[in-house]
Symmetry: D2
């Protein structure tokens, strides 16, 4: 890896960790509440295979909603453009009206990266796969080149016990006919998806295929078409950060996806992926230090997709 | 210009014009209604100066909302990041709730490319400039390298006579204290901005500075910082197509801006700008053939920002 | 009963049945779809015991949401004014935003006569009663002076199989902490409440206590305080007809409650109750002929609460 | 007047004034801010002509929105049921979404007692009357039997200078074609209507015709039909207190109308009218002590319309 880039990553680490981090860790399930709030890791993976990380970059954390990109990619592959009859590709506006939008738009979620959309994607995976939970984690292990990635069953249970809002969403969609399978089965897969754990190193490596036009760099296996890979990046760009997608695009200028566990992954097409982890979240539910670190990265390198 | 690219533009022209165009022309002011609906022009300008166009690419049309990017760029330059106290950078969700969002968010428009946001930008220009209408059109002429670009006074009058919804927006914002100047003065500038006319050739040339990190290629004049230029592209990417921004990003993969006159301009950073014009609009208010042409362009070249 | 009033009821019957009835019967469960759509019954019960009815006034039908007044009255009695910490007394505005209001108002339904509010009432009954289903139907039988009133188990099953939207509502409220008991238990009681059947004669007799300051006229048993009885009438007046409460108040001028089975009951305090049944519903979900009949009644008698 | 009722009014006065009043006076125009906040007056007028008041019952105050009932009654008389093509009779739900409802319902306000609806009524009066301001105040003087009632020009000016939200409403309605006359003319009449001043004695006397089936008791002049009078009462019942209409109906049980000046008038059909004035407002914008006083009145008399 270029010396220059390594220097920049070290500078970023110094800058973001020298001040007390602000924001609060996610509290809706106990497993997230107990994480030491001042953890910080960053790892950058180039499509060439070069990679570098520092801080808590090798420690596993709950990637949460970041996994929605992975369910989307598998479903897009299996279902093709028929997918877009069940879910849109538009940003969702502010979070306050999540349910009203779903009601107004007759049970079709705005995009596959909000909860309602990811639930629809899980419904489609169940219709398409014989053993959805097993086949999905195998898919993740393949693109991660790592059999050590798995669901966390304690988090699955916690999600299930705090899933009333997700139950509201799926029941509303079912009332509009946009859910095919049994509600309990769909939510079971959805809660498993949310429970996957990775380190920053693993997360950045797993997402490399989106920086490489759908091909896993190390194995050269083509997982999806160039067009599909680009389109998933486009969805991350406009929909990856809830009601902060515009701000992330404005400040960082890369497609990416965040999770309430404090992780963020971003993609510089044809160049690299980068994963950061810092559990304290800003008011919009995205990692405060994570966004700051990525803003510094594209500012210092003077490179973004724009 | 590369032979290959010229061939592609010719193919696109053939493909989009061989079928009857669908959709309707904008009807809210008579000047737009009377435009021959099957006009089609396209013009591509490389940052190197190479350029090529065909169809009705030299005919002037009303660029309408596309000019909002130009007011934004001037105001961003004058006001710096203080601008973001008055207007956000988030996509607006569906058009139906434009007023409720403005009410819920206390008179701060979601972004500078929706009507409410562009009106706020006009208010800021009036506060900053001695002769706002004159200075703004001079700025446009400078970045267009063309003194032949101007307001159309008939369209100004028409906008004024059909501007009740814009009056509703500005009065609501004024009630929240987010408009400093007199309502009539701000709307007068806003209606002038909406009335600018350009051809596809002129439009693509005018936007070159956004593909060139803020510098006019032909004169080498630096109009804004690299960061500001990239950030304006980021805003176009997430907010340039009303409630179709996600879909445009998904299908075309370039930042851009549309207008109800049937024009669209898109930017491939560091490479080129491209302008298309075709008056029939889809249900979301964007040029049907224009979006199709740009989708073909990035598909055939296999190049987008993703 | 006065001759004059009997004449008026006969005239009303003639007038409303001479034209083809408009509107459609409720279709969301098969049991309602199969009802002959042109049934019409009306029955008026004076607090003196005098009563008169005609048409299909002795045929049982599904009173559906009308039963929400009965759950409310029992819960108000058991819980007192503490009830209003869990549910409001304001009309709900248009039906389109039922979920957004519930979200915006943190899971507190606007009133006890919309679905969300009636579900909260069922939750409270479960907390208060040992055997809620049995005790509730006993209460209804007591105020109806009729042991022949009961749940319809086929309708319970149908409601359960089409209850996704109600599941969405209760899950959303549970996520806000406004549901104490198990979701399945609460919905089970709610679906039973919706399944009660009565004839017009039975319905008008059952509601007599609300015209009589909380006392059953025939048994002289005081079921609730005068104030509670008046307040339930007030809630019916402002909230009894979904998004048509204002129009019913305007045209009829009496407190009342409708159900999607085509029934309506109205109360003239200190004078009488009247029940009508006609299955075809207008666009707001209320019986077309039923509203017409009641409008004729207060117009011809020149008596309303206003 | 009955001794008993006089005693009750004295008791009410004592009870509501013995505690420090809560809430704040209206602040949106300076003329209201400067009113001594602890004023309290009450006056009851029987249809027989008997009347009794105490406290500041003879002091004039700004009746504000209470005058919307008077514009409604004049327009209903002039326009008949055609009025309901321009404005509805349904309660408006919560105030937060006033603009979205107007947008969603295509510029037709929910009822004539919210600002948007009263503006539409003013538009209709302008279309119908030669000299609307003069003819309207003459109408008010006639039903008040009092030539001493008039507009307050200082309040007119203040309203005009703080009327941005009302301008937003009228412009939105004009964009939907629901305003016929010039915006400035309509707002001028509207601001005049809002500026009328009366004492509690005058206010209760003015509203007597609504308690008397449309006839002025002292002159026996029939101003409107019995049906129209009842229907205006019905609208007051469901729409007279913004987002507190249900609560007022629940607690007081009479039709009425409030104004931000701290006045409330209520009607007991065929019996009496009562006006109270106390400037401190609760969070919903209605007089705190005023509502309390009326709740005590119907509780102590054990008489309401329910």
């Amino acid at each position: 890896m270029q010396k220059k880039l390594i220097e920049i990553l070290n500078e970023i680490m110094m800058e973001v960790t020298q001040h007390q981090s602000t924001g609060e860790v996610a509290t809706y399930i106990p497993e997230l509440t107990s994480i030491p709030p001042d953890k910080f890791g960053i790892h950058l993976y180039a499509v060439t295979g070069d990679n570098y990380g520092l801080g808590d970059n090798l420690e596993k954390f709950s990637i949460q909603s970041i996994a929605k990109v992975l369910t989307l990619s598998l479903a897009f592959n299996l279902e093709g453009d028929n997918l877009w009859n069940h879910v849109g590709v538009e940003p969702s506006g502010n979070s306050f009206n999540s349910l009203v939008q779903l009601e107004y738009e007759k049970g079709i979620p705005r995009n596959p990266l909000i909860n309602a959309g990811a639930i629809v994607i899980c419904d489609i995976l169940i219709s398409r796969l014989k053993n959805p939970k097993l086949e999905f984690i195998s898919y993740v292990q393949k693109i991660a080149c790592n059999n050590n990635i798995n669901y966390n069953s304690k988090i699955v249970e916690s999600e299930r016990n705090h899933g009333y809002r997700n139950s509201a969403l799926i029941n509303l969609m079912k009332s509009f006919g946009n859910i095919e399978n049994k509600i309990d089965d769909v939510l079971d897969l959805y809660f498993h998806v949310c429970s996957i754990e990775m380190s920053c190193e693993e997360l950045s490596k797993t997402f490399l295929l989106f920086a490489n036009n759908g091909k896993i760099p190390s194995t050269e296996e083509k997982i999806m078409s160039t067009s599909q890979s680009k389109r998933i990046n486009a969805i991350m760009q406009t929909c990856g950060f809830y009601d902060e997608a515009g701000d992330f695009s404005f400040r960082v200028g890369l497609p990416g996806k965040s999770g309430v566990g404090g992780g963020i992954v971003a993609i510089h097409p044809n160049k690299y992926t980068v994963a950061v982890w810092s559990p304290r979240l800003n008011k919009k539910g995205n990692s405060s230090r994570g966004i700051k670190a990525l803003e510094l990265l594209t500012t210092k390198t003077e490179l973004s997709i724009f």
